[in-house]
């Protein structure tokens, strides 16, 4: 029996199903879509030019947004923690606390959530509108493998760019914390940065930065899936964009809990 054509994969046209069953089918369909990604990613054609374009789209256009998030995180965290630490005479550990909080948890999660909002909605809407205007069918009948051209580069771009943007956001957040410390406590430059990095282990940096690659995968695959399987018109495309943000944000939070638990098990806590 031949495999189903593109247009019949995902959601076939069918009679309405009960809501619970529909959701179960969607989850099953998403899992199959992920399976297809891992099967197809190794096979040609390799859309390198499209991958670079998507990395640029996802990355360079998000630097300002993530920098703004980073500054806010650093400054606010430093302002709020200073008073509490001062009460216990522990103001000197502020840089350590700031670095640990930012690198281990706040930076990766906030950056990924911000990117889920910016990229997830865009990817679902772009691919969804290509689906409803038959552009994906046009790629298919021209033997251009739409899954390779549209889905794989976007997911890979997210997996590569999320850790890079997270590292960028983390550094900006620490810089924000430093600026706050200079203004509030006239902290010495070398003391702040030495103190901040002395508390970080290589394993922390590695696991906590690269877990965002998993978040990037989730944002990319969920958003592409929702766009790729849209049926209907502009209303459904809008819904897919909204669902992409909601679902990828929820999956980021869920994956974070699982990865933190795993990393504590593998590398131990501080």
């Amino acid at each position: 029996m031949p495999t189903k054509p593109e247009v019949e994969q995902g959601f076939p046209v069918r009679a309405p199903e009960p809501i619970g069953r529909t959701w179960m089918m969607r989850i099953g369909s998403l899992v199959l879509f992920m399976g297809r990604f891992f099967r197809e990613v190794w096979r040609p054609p390799y859309e390198v030019r499209e991958l670079v374009r998507q990395m640029d789209e996802a990355g360079s256009k998000s630097f300002v947004l993530t920098a703004a998030a980073g500054i806010a995180i650093g400054v606010v965290l430093a302002m709020q923690s200073r008073g509490t630490l001062a009460r216990f005479g522990a103001e000197a550990v502020l840089p350590n606390m700031l670095a640990l909080s930012v690198f281990k948890e706040i930076g990766p999660v906030i950056t990924s959530l911000v990117l889920a909002g910016r990229l997830g909605a865009g990817m679902a809407a772009e691919i969804g509108s290509m689906r409803v205007t038959e552009q994906i069918d046009a790629l298919e009948v021209a033997a251009l493998k739409p899954f390779h051209y549209l889905v794989i580069p976007r997911v890979l771009a997210c997996m590569v760019m999320f850790p890079i943007l997270t590292t960028w956001t983390n550094m900006i957040a620490l810089a924000g914390g430093y600026v706050e410390s200079v203004i509030s406590a006239n902290m010495d430059f070398r003391l702040f940065w030495n103190s901040a990095f002395s508390s970080l282990r290589f394993a922390d940096l590695l696991v906590d930065t690269f877990k965002t690659s998993v978040f990037g995968f989730l944002v990319g695959i969920v958003s592409c899936y929702l766009g790729y399987t849209v049926r209907g018109g502009t209303r459904e495309v809008g819904q897919a964009a909204m669902q992409a943000v909601v679902l990828s944000s929820l999956l980021i939070l869920l994956a974070d809990v699982i990865i933190v638990r795993l990393s504590l098990f593998l590398f131990g806590g501080l």
Binding site: K4, P5, V7
Partner: protein
Amino acid sequence: MAGAHAWAVSLRAVYKRFGVREVLRGVTLDVVPGQSVVIMGSSGSGKSVLLKHLVRLLLPDQGEVWVLGQRVDQLEGEALDRLRLSIGYLFQSGALFDSMSVYENLDFLLERHTTLSRAERRDRILETLNWVGLRHTATQYPAELSGGQRKRIALARAIILEPKLLLYDEPTTGLDPASVRAVAELIVRLRDERGITSVTITHDLLCAEIIADHVHFLHEGRILLSGTFEALRRADHPALRNFFGS
């Protein structure tokens, strides 16, 4: 009767159902190579579904689909890709890639499926745009074109790889009579000058009258009647009388 592989297109007892809705109920038809065949029928009669089977955008639940001597519903991978490259498909909406200019829409296919140099690709694109009378739109984006222009660019994209078979899905829907005539005349020229076989689905009587060598009328998922356009127009059947408005 010739075997299915002898026809340019041959459908044998094709059935297709979506959920509870049975769209095709045993469609059988053959297309002679070099002919311009039109499949007519009212909205919702399954015309677009039928056409999508010819490029394996849909699979039949039952029956056989033969195109250019190959059984499409059993083709996979590279064999399917090779067959698809011998078929041009004009979508109802045009389906032009809206993030690309007209030139890029055409070059996208040539760059990926041919070994032509950049200069040779450029010549082929400009020649094709010239043929559809829209060379001046090369740098424009699909959103900047009129409905008729979009259809003609979509036609240019469909023929850029020099296919043996052209499939037209409602090529003149939403166009004014002058644009209908312009698109229909291009379709006729493709048959006469290049000998390309074509299958067109339409409910546009003017277009069908201009381009059809042979017409099949699809009604309630089956071919109700086949013949020349005039023969169908004069046929004494309520569905046909209703369709032709006589």
